[in-house]
């Protein structure tokens, strides 16, 4: 009963956001019911739409579970966009250099390359924070910019499709080797292996965080860095590790975006969002909806993917600008995030018996481990 009530609050918040969205649709002169049905139809209408939703959710899920790692270690990672790009670039380079490698080797190779690329792009801000006191918000924002320009440089220069060089000059690579394409799971749809890999990754992250010493150290550092340091845990190394892991998962999302795509190329339109679809930010939202828990991020990113996929149908069917869906996403985030307290209060109310213990514990955990704490200050304060 209590669990149900707990889940009802974010759902209720989402409902409220839909009400506001309906008002906006009405203001545009369209019928909100057809709007809602367009979204649902676009996301789940046929088997293929379902597949598209799942594929759309995959990068969100991967970025999201990376975010949960970072959060548990109390670092904020808004560098997802750059890390996705870095992972995509490195994996594409691998596919361009050794295209004839048999599929069973090449696919894991590009995935590893993507994780290395993203991992480096995440570890740099992590290390800068841990060892040079450079706040991770600053470094990730800056590295996002650097990544986009790096992608532009490479795609219009050394990595450009040779046909394009004197042709239309589209900044894109040639069609990559079929050996690296994510295998289709269900014939006739666009459902590919990446979806399964992402879900598997969520389980792995869960296990790492709660069942391994590494995870314990990460969470300890996030919960109380001073105590962790006193216990002999290297705060610096673990922060770097957390950002690196988070980046690696975003890099893997980049791999999925390239090798799970229909065109099987890396193409840019000059900005980050043209390639990533803002997965670097939407993944944060997906993680939130999943309570910052890797396993719950699976259904939440699926639902978010549904909203995004449905929005294209909304645009096509009712001529409603895609911008409405973006605004609606923002509203849903705000409401869900605001409902946290309500949920904690509800929990307290329902636990009249175990009031003292449980809610005190809950408040503790709400205040400490799941909050975002930029570590810059506290880490170095303790150094004598």
């Amino acid at each position: 009963m209590k669990r149900l009530l707990g889940a009802s609050v974010p759902l209720g918040a989402a409902l409220l956001a839909f009400v506001l969205g309906s008002i906006m649709i009405l203001a545009l002169g369209e019928n909100p019911i057809s709007g809602a049905s367009a979204i649902v139809e676009g996301a789940f209408g046929t088997g293929d739409r379902f597949a598209v939703t799942a594929v759309r959710a995959t990068p969100l899920l991967l970025v999201g579970i990376g975010i949960t790692i970072a959060f548990r270690a109390s670092v904020i990672n808004i560098g997802g966009e750059g890390q996705i790009i870095a992972g995509a670039l490195l994996s594409t380079i691998v596919a361009l250099v050794i295209p004839d490698t048999p599929r069973i080797i090449l696919i894991p190779l590009v995935m590893i390359a993507g994780m290395i690329g993203g991992g480096i792009w995440g570890a740099i801000p992590g290390a800068l924070k841990a060892y040079a006191s450079v706040n991770e918000i600053l470094s990730t924002v800056m590295l996002n910019i650097v990544a986009v320009q790096l992608m532009n440089f490479l795609l219009r220069g050394p990595m450009i499709d040779p046909i394009e060089k004197n042709g239309s000059r589209i900044p894109q690579t040639e069609r990559l080797s079929d050996n690296a394409a994510m295998p289709t799971l269900v014939e006739g749809t666009r459902l590919h292996l990446g979806v399964v890999i992402a879900v598997f990754a969520a389980a792995v992250v869960y296990i790492i965080l709660w069942r391994t010493p590494l995870g314990f150290r990460l969470r300890a550092v996030g919960h109380n860095p001073d105590a962790a340091r006193a216990a002999g845990i290297s705060v610096e190394r673990n922060i770097t590790m957390a950002m690196g892991m988070s980046g690696a998962l975003s890099g893997l999302a980049g791999v999925m975006l390239v090798f799970g795509s229909e065109s099987l190329r890396l193409v840019t339109d000059g900005g980050a969002a043209g390639f990533t679809g803002s997965a670097g930010f939407n993944g944060i939202v997906a993680a939130l909806f999943g309570g910052l828990h890797p396993l719950w991020t699976v259904p939440s990113s699926f639902l978010f993917g549904a909203l995004l996929t449905g929005a294209t149908q909304l645009q096509r069917a009712l001529q409603i600008p895609a911008a409405l869906a973006v605004a609606l996403n923002g509203l849903i985030v705000l409401f869900v995030v605001s409902s946290d307290r309500l949920r904690a209060w509800l929990h307290g109310r329902l636990n009249q018996g175990a009031f003292d213990n449980e809610t005190a514990e809950l408040r503790e955990s709400t205040n400490n481990s799941t909050d975002l704490q930029p570590e810059g200050s506290n880490v170095h304060e303790a150094t004598p």
């Binding site: 042709g167 239309s168 900044p171 229909e262 065109s263 339109d269 000059g270 294209t312 096509r316 001529q319």
Partner: protein
């Protein structure tokens, strides 16, 4: 020696000539042809796109990366379709390729006859989608290749041609001085336009400096890039991409002539826009629709040129260009069409 009869004939001829000129001037369109490839607008008209008669009964949809009203790339396509009397279904702002691919496939699944895929970067996805819908015609640009797929038409603007003409006129105005070009990212048709422009201006004795800001959308960067050119002492400015409006504003403020491309940019500055190379896609779309009506759903790549009227250098009537500059521009157009001048792409 003029007899009475020949004098009457001459009068009649002159009257007829005057009448036809009068008719042409008062005719439906706002433009008066001053030469092939160029057209000077009436000062004060708002260049509204005139809706023509519907050329085909096929259903049409457009998928495009930027806003339909961007006064640049996407708007040029929408305007062209309007001139052909077509009101397409539009999915715009799909800058993410996968989302666009979704929309393209969606339209094809909905049974739309002709899907206009207005974005070079969508080509890869289109190659996967088109074979699944052999009854649908896909018109894709900007590209010079149909990727050997039978139901894809391709279109491409030879932007360097109009660019050259713009550049030549700019060279006249700069009179040996320098010209600034504000570009976004060095890719796509931006490069062709800029290369052509530079060649035209340099052929006319001007110095051309080009800055690529690194972004298609950052208006602040385009603004300051234009400001930087002012300190170099440029006499003329040009640029491309949706961020170009920043540079146009700088030109407007500082009374510097501006040359535009993709769409008619007079709306951004009635005083300073000298000319815009406008993409009249309808010239080739008309042919493509005809072929589609007859059953050929693709297989040809067509380009917009000065010769076929797909590229039109629309000159701002309010700017009052010298008549010898105008006729000089007309000469340049003729030379390009004849092949005597080959603007670099």
């Amino acid at each position: 020696m003029k007899t009475n009869r020949s004098r009457r004939f001459l009068t009649l001829l002159t009257a007829l000539l005057a009448l036809s000129m009068f008719a042409a001037a008062c005719g439906g369109s706002d433009d008066t042809e001053s030469a092939t490839g160029t057209a000077t607008s009436e000062c004060g008209t708002n260049n509204a796109v005139v809706k023509g008669d519907k050329v085909t009964d096929k259903t049409v949809a457009v998928v495009a990366p930027s806003d339909s009203q961007d006064l640049a790339f996407t708007q040029s396509m929408i305007d062209s379709l309007t001139r052909l009397g077509i009101e397409p279904q539009v999915t715009d702002g799909t800058f993410q390729v996968e989302v666009a691919a979704d929309a393209i496939r969606g339209y094809a699944e909905d049974g739309i006859n002709v899907v206009i895929v207005h974005g070079t970067q969508y080509g890869g996805s289109l190659a996967e989608i088109a074979p699944d819908f052999p009854e649908t015609s896909f018109i894709w640009g900007t590209s010079t290749s149909t990727q050997d797929i039978p139901n894809i038409f391709a279109y491409y603007p030879e932007a360097q041609q109009g660019g050259y003409v713009n550049g030549w006129i700019a060279g006249e105005l700069a009179d040996g001085g320098s010209i600034g070009v504000v570009g976004p990212v060095e890719a796509g048709d931006a490069v062709s336009y800029i290369n052509g422009f530079r060649a035209g201006a340099e052929a006319n004795g001007a110095d051309v400096a080009v800055t690529y800001t690194g972004s298609f959308s950052d208006v602040a960067l385009a603004t300051e890039a234009a400001e930087a050119f002012l300190t170099v002492g440029v006499e003329v400015l040009t640029g491309t991409s949706q961020s170009a409006v920043g540079a146009v504003n700088v030109a407007n403020e500082n009374k510097i002539p501006w040359f535009g491309t993709q769409s008619n940019q007079e709306a951004w500055s009635t005083d300073q826009v000298v000319a815009s190379q406008v993409y009249h896609w309808e010239v080739i779309l008309d042919d493509m629709f005809e072929m589609i009506d007859e059953g050929t759903l693709g297989g040809e790549a067509m380009s917009l040129t000065l010769e076929n009227g797909g590229l039109l250098v629309e000159i701002n009537g309010c700017y009052n260009l010298d008549s010898d500059v105008l006729s000089g521009a007309g000469d340049i157009v003729d030379q390009i069409i004849a092949g005597d001048i080959n603007p670099p792409a």
